[in-house]
């Protein structure tokens, strides 16, 4: 069987992977087509309709409304758009930086190894959420800064991953052979070693997308993330908490929305890992 087909077969063998794929597909599609899918697109912003405030779930508002009458379903769909964008931006900042530094440290060794990996250690010494919170607290709470703060805590993990892979790969025959032919370090790193790391990195990216969404929602739950009126799942939960237990749906549905996102990316990532036979 050709490789992709075999991988697909392995992926499908676990029904949970399919569930993950399904959840991720729903989330990505609703984020992309939010303005077509959301029943009340205007409710995503600073819309006010006190006549319909705090309505429990019914046929008109499937998931109920919040304390100023905004449709929760619409806000969750737009919230996914914000979360997903944040996750993608964070990882497209953190992954290349971390991977490049890690590869360089692992391949060159010596002082580059020492310098880069000690800096990585320093970043890893601060518990991830704490570092992001401190950065967020010192900067202004905007979406851009949230992305920067979460990226700052995320790159060291990719540096470590790439470091270990560069260390083990650079001893492999194919790398040594390329070196013997006279390939320079950039060719070796980017054209020989990196392609072999891509599947592992992509699997980790899939798993991490969920966790970035979770961390970002934790930040905004504390009031340190995306600011209103931008719809954000974490701040939706935080807003609802003060009205518990009367209007439980205001808390429950955004919370479940976060859970589904993390679950979806997690199951999909696990499926990809099993399908490509890796250990992370």
């Amino acid at each position: 069987m050709p490789f992709p087909l075999l991988g697909w077969y392995k992926f499908c063998r676990n029904p949970l992977s399919i569930v993950g794929l399904f959840l991720v597909a729903i989330i990505v599609l609703s984020a992309c087509f939010a303005s077509y899918i959301a029943p009340y697109p205007r409710h995503a912003g600073s819309f006010v309709d006190f006549a319909n405030a705090n309505r429990s779930p019914d046929t008109q508002y499937w998931l109920g409304t919040d304390n100023i009458g905004r449709d929760l379903l619409s806000r969750i769909i737009y919230g996914y758009r914000v979360s997903l964008m944040l996750g993608i931006v964070v990882l497209s900042l953190a992954v290349p930086i971390g991977v490049m530094l890690g590869l360089a440290a692992g391949y060159f060794g010596g002082w580059a190894d020492y310098l880069i990996m000690r800096v990585t250690d320093v970043f890893l010494a601060v518990p991830p959420l704490v570092l992001a919170m401190a950065i967020m607290g010192l900067l202004e709470p905007t979406l851009t800064n949230a992305m920067l703060a979460v990226s700052a805590m995320w790159w060291p993990w990719y540096a470590r991953l790439a470091y270990n892979m560069a260390r083990s790969e650079s001893r492999e025959d194919y790398v040594v052979a390329a070196k013997v032919i006279g390939a320079g370090p950039f060719h070796l790193l980017l054209r020989e070693i990196l392609p072999n790391c891509i599947p592992t990195i992509l699997t980790k990216v899939t798993l991490d997308l969920g966790f970035v969404i979770m961390i970002a929602s934790s930040l905004s739950f504390l009031g340190l993330g995306v600011q209103p009126p931008t719809p954000d799942l974490g701040s939706m939960v935080a807003n609802g908490v003060q009205y518990l237990p009367d209007t439980w749906w205001v808390v429950l549905f955004p919370a479940l929305a976060i859970l589904f996102a993390v679950l979806g990316f997690n199951l999909l990532g696990d499926g990809l890992r099993d399908a490509t036979d890796q250990r992370i």
Binding site: V126, L129, M133, L138, S217, L224, V241, V262
Partner: protein, 341 residues
């Protein structure tokens, strides 16, 4: 002394990393756009007040001089004055720290006491109903943010059923036992006041469980994977052939080697728990270091932010070092060496 050498090498490594951490967080606190003094005092403060604060924080000096000043103070155990509470940061932190210790240690204990047995049972019942249930619970633990657990547990046990208290460390009618450690449960036990101990424990359950859930899930999944792998080993087959009881095989021969990766991950998980404490303490009104940290962050209290981050990092590094040593103690093949923090 082998142990002494290992411990001191490890300590030196921790101090080196903390040095870097202090530079990192101090650097971030000083390079933020805008005037930190103005941000801390708010737009209403007069220019003189801002200038006074700038001088107190040495903000007009170059960055290197500021950092050296900071290190000098730090070496004498001084983290400066909190701009918000107006008390020394060290004093604020030492008041708040025991509450966080209590919460995080309780959660850590739950992770080990529930996560490891769940993993072993799951591997033992591999692909049977019990395994699927445990795996589902573990998965839910991992993918649910801790603040969601906090809110769900609070709703279920404090509002709908009113079995457990919703917030705080003690009931209003109860006063803490004489101060020894600052951890109310431990202090009550030392004083022999079982009524206080019970009240403190009841208050501790919900936040500790909420904080522990993701760790329990992670540890259970990891233990399951490593025990399942060890079950394939020939020495387990041999133990089976000898007719040892399945329980003995699981607990004695399979668990011990499986514990090593579990412990290492537990050490790393501690970072997540310390981060999670920031959310849990906020939800449950738990007056600990993390809550103080959130207040500091919301009030742009520079000295307090730097102090909290440093103390939390030190705590995390020390716990990790202890965990690594425990792993080495279980497995003599791991050679403890240098400051690989």
């Amino acid at each position: 002394m082998e142990l002494l050498r290992v411990v001191s090498a490890r300590l030196a490594g921790i101090i080196l990393v903390l040095f870097g951490t202090s530079l990192l967080i101090f650097g971030i606190a000083r390079i933020i756009p805008g005037d930190p003094a103005r941000i801390a005092l708010g737009p209403e403060a007069s220019q003189e007040q801002v200038q006074m604060l700038r001088e107190r924080l040495h903000l007009d000096e170059p960055f290197g001089a500021q950092y050296i000043e900071f290190l000098k103070d730090l070496s004498m155990g001084d983290l400066g004055t909190s701009l918000y509470t107006q008390r020394p940061v060290v004093q604020d932190i030492s008041t708040a720290l025991p509450a966080t210790f209590e919460l995080v240690f309780a959660a850590g204990l739950l992770v080990l006491l529930l996560g490891i047995p769940m993993g072993v049972l799951s591997a033992h019942w591999r692909d049977r109903a019990g395994d699927h249930v445990i795996r589902l619970v573990a998965l839910l633990g991992v993918v649910t943010p801790s603040f969601v657990w906090a809110v769900l547990l609070m709703l279920t046990f404090a509002y709908f059923t009113e079995i457990l208290p919703a917030a705080g460390r003690l009931s209003q009618s109860v006063s803490p036992a004489p101060l020894v450690t600052g951890m109310y449960t431990l202090d009550a036990a030392i004083a022999g006041r079982w009524d206080i101990l019970k009240d403190a424990l009841l208050h501790l359950i919900l936040p500790a469980v909420a904080l522990a859930m993701s760790g329990i899930g992670q540890i259970a999944r990891l233990t399951r994977a490593s025990v399942a792998e060890i079950y394939q080993a020939t020495y387990i087959d041999m133990a089976r052939a000898y007719g040892f009881a399945p329980r003995r095989i699981a607990m004695k021969y399979a668990l011990r080697p499986a514990l090593i990766p579990t412990l290492t991950v537990f050490g790393l998980d501690f970072a997540n728990m310390l981060g999670g404490a920031f959310l849990i303490e906020q939800v449950f009104g738990w007056p600990g270091l993390a809550r103080y940290g959130v207040q500091a962050i919301l009030h742009k209290d520079l000295n307090a932010i730097v102090g909290v981050v440093l103390v939390i990092s030190a705590f995390f590094l020390i716990v990790n070092a202890i965990v690594d040593m425990a792993a080495a103690w279980i497995n003599p093949r791991i050679r403890l060496s240098g400051p690989a923090v």
